[in-house]
C-alpha cells in the first residue's frame, strides 16, 4: 500500500512522555503524530482520520489496551494497534519500520 503521509496515533496517560513521542515521530519526514490521553479522544481522532498505526503508551493498562484495540479494529480492520515500549527514541523507529515492513506500507514521498 502506498500512502503520502504516515499518520500515527499515540495514546497514553502521561502527557509529558506523549509530547516527546510526538516530537520524535514528527521529526521524521512524512510521519505525523496525533497524541491523546483518553480512550474517548482516541476513538474520536481515529474516526476523524485514518491512522495505520496506533501506539499504546505509558499508563494504559493491558485491559484498556485490549478494549481499545477491539474498538479500533471494528472501525478499521487493517489498523495495527501495538504497545510502544521504552518511552523514548530507542525503539520507536524500529517499531514503525517493523509495522511498515509487515504490512507492506510505503510512503510514496519518502
Amino acid at each position: 500500500m502506498d500512502i503520502p503521509t504516515l499518520n500515527i496515533l499515540a495514546i497514553g496517560r502521561d502527557s509529558a512522555i506523549l509530547e516527546v513521542v510526538q516530537r520524535l515521530i514528527n521529526s521524521h519526514e512524512h510521519w505525523v503524530a496525533t497524541i491523546v490521553t483518553t480512550d474517548k479522544a482516541a476513538i474520536a481522532a481515529f474516526t476523524q482520520q485514518r491512522h495505520p498505526i496506533v501506539f499504546v503508551c505509558a499508563g494504559v493498562t493491558a485491559e484498556e489496551e485490549q478494549a481499545l484495540k477491539e474498538r479500533l479494529l471494528r472501525l478499521d480492520p487493517s489498523v495495527t494497534v501495538i504497545r510502544h515500549f521504552g518511552g523514548g527514541s530507542g525503539l520507536l523507529e524500529n517499531e514503525v519500520r517493523a509495522i511498515l515492513d509487515h504490512k507492506d506500507i510505503h510512503i510514496i514521498n519518502a
Binding site: 496517560r13 502521561d14 509529558a16 512522555i17 516527546v20 503508551c57 505509558a58 499508563g59 494504559v60 493498562t61 493491558a62 504497545r83 515500549f85 521504552g86 518511552g87 523514548g88 527514541s89 530507542g90 525503539l91 523507529e93 524500529n94 519500520r97 517493523a98 515492513d101
Partner: protein, 243 residues
C-alpha cells in the same frame, strides 16, 4: 535439542555520533535488522562509549527494565524521582521505568571516555511505580565464579527487576571450566563476552563482544580460553507475558 543464535561482535549495529559511539547487538534507533530484534525478553544490548563532558539530556523511558553496567569511567544520573547518582565501573544501575521516568545521564569525567553496557529487558508488569537501584559488584566473588547481579526476587543476591530474569557476571582464569544452569525451564540464556574468550559446550568459540543466545539446554558448559576473560550471562523468558 538446544538451539543457538550467534551474534559476532563485528556484525552488530554501529552508530558513531562523534561524542557517542554505540555497538548494538539488537535493533535499536537507526539500526534495524528484522532478524535481530530481541532474544525473548532481552530487547537491547548496547555497548556504548560517551566522550568526556558529554551525555544524554533529559529524556523519558517507560515500561522497560534498564540495566547499565559501566566498563570504564562513570555516568552521572539524574531523574525526576529525585535521584542524583554517579554509577562507576564496579557498580551496576537498574531502573524499572514503569509508568514513566525522565532522566539524564552524562559522563562523570570532563575529558575521559565512559564505556558501558546498556541493557533493556521487557518487564512482566506494566505501569509499575518507577524504581531506581544501584549496587556494588564484588570482584573477589566474581573471580572464577558467575556471581548473581540481578534476579526477580527482592530477597535474592544483587538487585532485582520486574522480570523472571537473572544476570550473572564473572572473570575467569585461562582454562577454568564452569557451567550455567538456567533457573527456569523454558528460559533462554544470552552469553555476552565482555573481554577475552570462551569455549561454549566444547564447540563454539566466543571472542570479546560476541553474543550467543541458547535455548533448550539444561546446563551450559564453558571454558575460559584466555586469562582474565569476563562474561555476562543473561537469562530471560522466551515467551513474553506482561500483566
Amino acid at each position: 535439542m538446544p538451539n543457538t543464535i550467534l551474534h559476532k561482535a563485528a556484525t552488530r549495529g554501529h552508530a558513531d555520533h562523534g561524542w557517542l559511539e554505540s555497538f548494538q547487538s539488537f535493533s535499536f534507533a537507526d539500526y534495524y535488522n528484522p532478524e535481530r530484534v530481541q532474544f525473548g525478553a532481552l530487547r537491547v544490548l548496547n555497548d556504548d562509549r560517551v566522550d568526556g563532558g558529554k551525555g544524554f539530556g533529559s529524556h523519558p523511558h517507560d515500561n522497560m527494565e534498564i540495566i547499565s553496567i559501566p566498563l570504564e569511567g562513570g555516568l552521572v544520573h539524574q531523574d525526576n524521582l529525585g535521584n542524583t547518582k554517579v554509577v562507576s565501573k564496579g557498580e551496576i544501575q537498574v531502573m524499572s521505568t514503569g509508568k514513566g521516568v525522565f532522566h539524564s545521564e552524562y559522563n562523570n569525567s570532563p575529558d575521559q571516555p565512559a564505556k558501558f553496557l546498556q541493557i533493556w529487558v521487557f518487564p512482566n508488569r506494566l505501569n509499575v511505580t518507577p524504581r531506581y537501584d544501584q549496587i556494588l559488584r564484588d570482584p573477589v566473588r566474581e573471580h572464577n565464579h558467575l556471581q548473581q547481579l540481578i534476579s526477580p526476587s527482592q530477597q535474592g543476591e544483587g538487585t532485582w527487576i520486574y522480570q523472571d530474569a537473572w544476570f550473572h557476571i564473572g572473570h575467569f582464569d585461562k582454562d577454568k571450566h564452569f557451567s550455567y544452569d538456567p533457573k527456569e525451564k523454558g528460559n533462554g540464556v544470552y552469553l555476552f563476552v565482555i573481554s577475552g574468550s570462551f569455549l561454549v559446550d566444547g564447540t563454539q568459540t566466543l571472542e570479546a563482544r560476541d553474543g550467543l543466545g541458547i535455548t533448550g539446554e539444561a546446563a551450559i558448559n564453558l571454558t575460559a580460553t584466555t586469562d582474565g576473560s569476563e562474561l555476562l550471562v543473561i537469562e530471560v523468558p522466551m515467551n513474553l507475558k506482561i500483566q
